[in-house]
């Protein structure tokens, strides 16, 4: 029994932290808030030099061939640094969709480009109904003479503006899980238009994507048989977002504690006030155990454990709540300055809220846990 990180994993995490401290400090994040796409190709290229986008990609396609646990450590550090950009959606979600669902030709075309950072992918999943189940997938794929075309709308598609390739959940028949398909669509395909949805978390950008007879570039797996992979992608997203939340919560906690040590009121550091100390202790006592939930969920996903989906939901439910609570307290511990645009704390506060709702909020995942546990 070994529930710990390997030396390589420790090293990966440590070097990621050092790299991001250097390359993605808060002022860098701040500058990207005003960027049109909220994305720095240069940072993405630097991360690619370290092999990060190809972390999950098998070596024969130019990746590092590592697992979700390794990815989670990286994402934890990215959450810590609130890195803006499509990394999670491209290098975890879209990449994994291709790895699991792609034909060998599709893999050959896309995986090396995704791994090298030359291409960016994303997942188009939600629709206006905001449903996470199969009934929420209504975007029609129609068979034409020379292949399929899509007509309809996807909502909340992350970083669609900078993506080269979209993994789109579509309906080829019926209304249930049977009939859901995953298809690849190139971003510059004719008939595809995007519209940004302006959100308070400027480190994440989402778009409404409209399809008007857009040609499908290919199916990931068989038509009508996409639900299983889509469900797995949801688990993956839950673990990935939980890792991001863990790092963000840790950072918010660290910043708040440091601030209270230097801020003086009543002729003493406010860190000496028990009201704040107990707040900080409560944050620690939620964040520390939550770390183990992320590790386990990633490990369960990697090893295809029987309870992998349950573990993903448990992590997502817990981290959704913990990240939000932690950033709320962290803002309060800063007093008035924490409420300003000028101070950085709102980056994490807002990211926490985004992470909370994406791919199912705490209550949704608790209900899932209840079903897994037979009640």
């Amino acid at each position: 029994m070994d529930f710990g990180l390997s030396e390589e994993q420790d090293l990966l995490q440590q070097s990621a932290r050092e790299f991001l401290t250097q390359e993605c400090p808060p002022q860098f994040v701040r500058a990207l808030l005003d960027d049109e796409h909220g994305f720095s190709p240069e940072l993405h290229r630097k991360m690619a030099e370290l092999g990060w986008p190809g972390l999950l990609v098998p070596e024969k396609f130019g990746g590092l061939g590592l697992g979700l646990l390794d990815m989670a450590l990286l994402l934890e550090e990215m959450g810590r640094a609130v890195v803006p950009g499509p990394f999670l959606f491209s290098s975890a979600l879209a990449t994994f969709a291709l790895m699991r669902g792609g034909s060998s030709a599709q893999k050959k075309t896309w995986l090396p480009r995704l791994a090298s950072g030359d291409a960016i992918g994303t997942l188009a999943f939600l629709e206006a109904s905001d449903r996470l189940d199969a009934a929420g997938i209504t975007l029609k794929a129609r068979k034409k003479r020379d292949g399929y075309t899509l007509s309809g709308t996807k909502m909340f598609v992350p970083f669609a503006a900078v993506a080269d390739i979209l993994v789109v959940a579509v309906r080829t028949s019926g209304k249930s899980e049977k009939g859901v398909s995953l298809v690849l669509v190139e971003r510059d395909a004719p008939g595809l238009t995007i519209r940004p949805l302006d959100m308070f978390d400027r480190t994440r950008r989402v778009y409404e994507v409209r399809f008007k007879q857009v040609p499908v570039s290919g199916f990931l797996g068989k038509a009508g048989k996409g639900w299983k992979l889509l469900a797995q992608l949801q688990d993956l997203a839950c673990v990935a977002l939980s890792a991001d939340s863990l790092g963000g919560a840790q950072q918010a906690l660290d910043m708040a504690v440091e601030y209270t040590k230097v801020r003086e009121q009543f002729n003493r550091p406010i860190a000496s006030f028990q009201a704040l100390k107990h707040m900080a202790a409560e944050m620690v006592s939620e964040v520390e155990p939550a770390r183990s939930l992320v590790w386990y969920a990633a490990y369960a996903f990697d090893t295809r454990a029987k309870d992998a989906s349950r573990a993903a939901s448990i992590a997502k439910a817990r981290l959704s709540a913990v990240y939000t609570r932690t950033t709320n307290k962290a803002v309060q511990m800063h007093g008035g300055i924490g409420f300003t645009w000028e101070h950085d704390m709102h980056f994490w506060f807002k990211r926490a809220k985004w992470n909370e709702f994406a791919f199912g909020a705490a209550a949704y995942h608790r209900e899932r846990v209840a079903r897994f546990d037979g009640y």
């Binding site: 529930f3 504690v257 202790a281 770390r291 490990y299 439910a317 995942h365 608790r366 009640y375």
Partner: protein
């Protein structure tokens, strides 16, 4: 990372499980109707610990020289602890000797003390109680006033302890006393071992809110304690005690008991109805059950993480500091939800008709609140986490 246990560990677990299946004492109706501190029940509890010891399953890590197994494999110790819980085995009556005194003596005790006391801790021939708290000194333990004057080759002890769990059936007490009233409060304390049969020791049981007499007042009137019963140096008792407190608080909580409680809670929810609806179908209860599940799972893997760190000889970090706080509050919250589920049936006492699960839930609901207070309250835990863990300055 690899959660599979080694073949050897699996085999060991199987052996322990088989042994426990054959040896865990069956419920004895005639005994369980007696008060908890009836001598026949105490004797039975001692017999159980002794049997477990003879099978080689008590305090595996203690050196052979003092009657232990000399088995430093933390994994095996954890397996035994888990299996004991899974087998619904009774708790060990000598627990405070095993978990608090023993580790302290092993760390700072003299050779004679180790030889003299440790073997009998293992066999339950001698039961120990912890004499720390006093009426005027609880959280502020270092302010304790029970006085011990060194006269010739003996301490003469005068004063009072309170909340002393198990004192009424204990043979000995490890005790903090003031040996230098003029020194700063942390530097005038000594750690001594007191024979409870010494003239001048009076034990008066206090009834807890559960109705049981679990803890006691202990009075000392010119109690003579031989000088050789001093553990560590004179006036260095605070350091010695802190070693013990550390063992008490950061006990690598195997979370098996909490997991079991959670399973029982879900079973309860599935079997009970309330307001014309099976409780497990009530969305608010489902949310609460699943929320507790996420907390239970977090602690399960949190403890595995610490176990792994320990087997690799790594220092426990700030993570270990939250164990007592999080663990005790979680256990209490589980019981609180059980009461919410049982609704009108919740307050029924053990012997009442229509009582659910033998009244274990309301009992545990209260008992677990005591554990939030005992061994350093939740507020004191938060002080420790923020001051020692996060380096926030002391309050003035």
């Amino acid at each position: 990372m690899d959660l599979a246990y080694s073949k050897e560990d699996e085999a060991f677990r199987k052996t322990v499980r088989t042994w426990l299946k054959a040896n865990v004492p069956k419920k004895d109706k005639t005994l369980s109707d007696l008060p908890p501190n009836d001598p026949r029940r105490i004797q039975r509890a001692k017999d159980w610990q002794r049997r477990l010891y003879e099978a080689g399953y008590v305090a595996l890590g203690w050196p052979k020289a003092y009657g232990g197994q000399g088995d430093s494999d933390i994994m095996r110790q954890t397996i035994v602890n888990e299996e004991l819980v899974l087998a619904r085995a009774p708790g060990l009556i000598g627990a405070s000797g095993l978990t608090m005194l023993g580790p302290t003596l092993l760390q700072v005790g003299s050779e004679e003390q180790k030889q003299r006391y440790l073997p009998k801790v293992l066999t339950a021939e001698e039961i120990w109680c912890q004499g720390y708290s006093e009426p005027g000194s609880g959280s502020d333990l270092a302010s304790l006033r029970t006085r011990a004057e060194l006269v010739g080759d003996a301490f003469i002890v005068n004063g009072q302890k309170v909340w002393t769990s198990g004192a009424q059936f204990s043979d000995r007490m490890f005790c903090l006393v003031r040996t230098d009233p003029d020194a700063p409060k942390h530097r005038g304390i000594s750690y001594i071992l007191i024979d409870m049969k010494t003239p001048g020791v009076t034990v008066r049981p206090l009834v807890q809110m559960t109705g049981d007499a679990g803890f006691n007042e202990v009075f000392f009137e010119d109690v003579r304690v031989p000088r050789e019963n001093l553990v560590g140096e004179l006036n260095q008792g605070w350091l010695v005690a802190n070693a013990t407190l550390f063992h008490e608080r950061n006990m690598l909580g195997s979370t098996t008991r909490t997991q079991l409680m959670m399973q029982n809670l879900i079973r309860l929810a599935r079997s009970h109805s309330r307001y014309g609806q099976p409780v497990a179908e009530d969305p608010s209860i489902r949310q609460q059950l699943a929320d507790l599940t996420t907390r239970v799972e977090a602690m399960k893997y949190h403890s595995l993480r610490q176990l792994t760190a320990a087997t690799k000889g790594r220092k426990p970090g700030i993570g270990a500091m939250v164990n007592k706080l999080v663990g005790t509050e979680l256990n209490h919250d589980i019981c609180a939800l059980a009461l919410e589920i049982m609704n009108s049936y919740a307050p029924l006492n053990r012997r009442a008709s229509h009582v659910i699960d033998n009244g274990i839930w309301p009992y545990e609901f209260m008992f677990t609140l005591g554990l939030i207070i005992g061994g350093g309250t939740s507020q004191i835990q938060k002080n420790i986490i923020s001051e020692r863990g996060l380096g926030m300055p002391k309050s003035r």
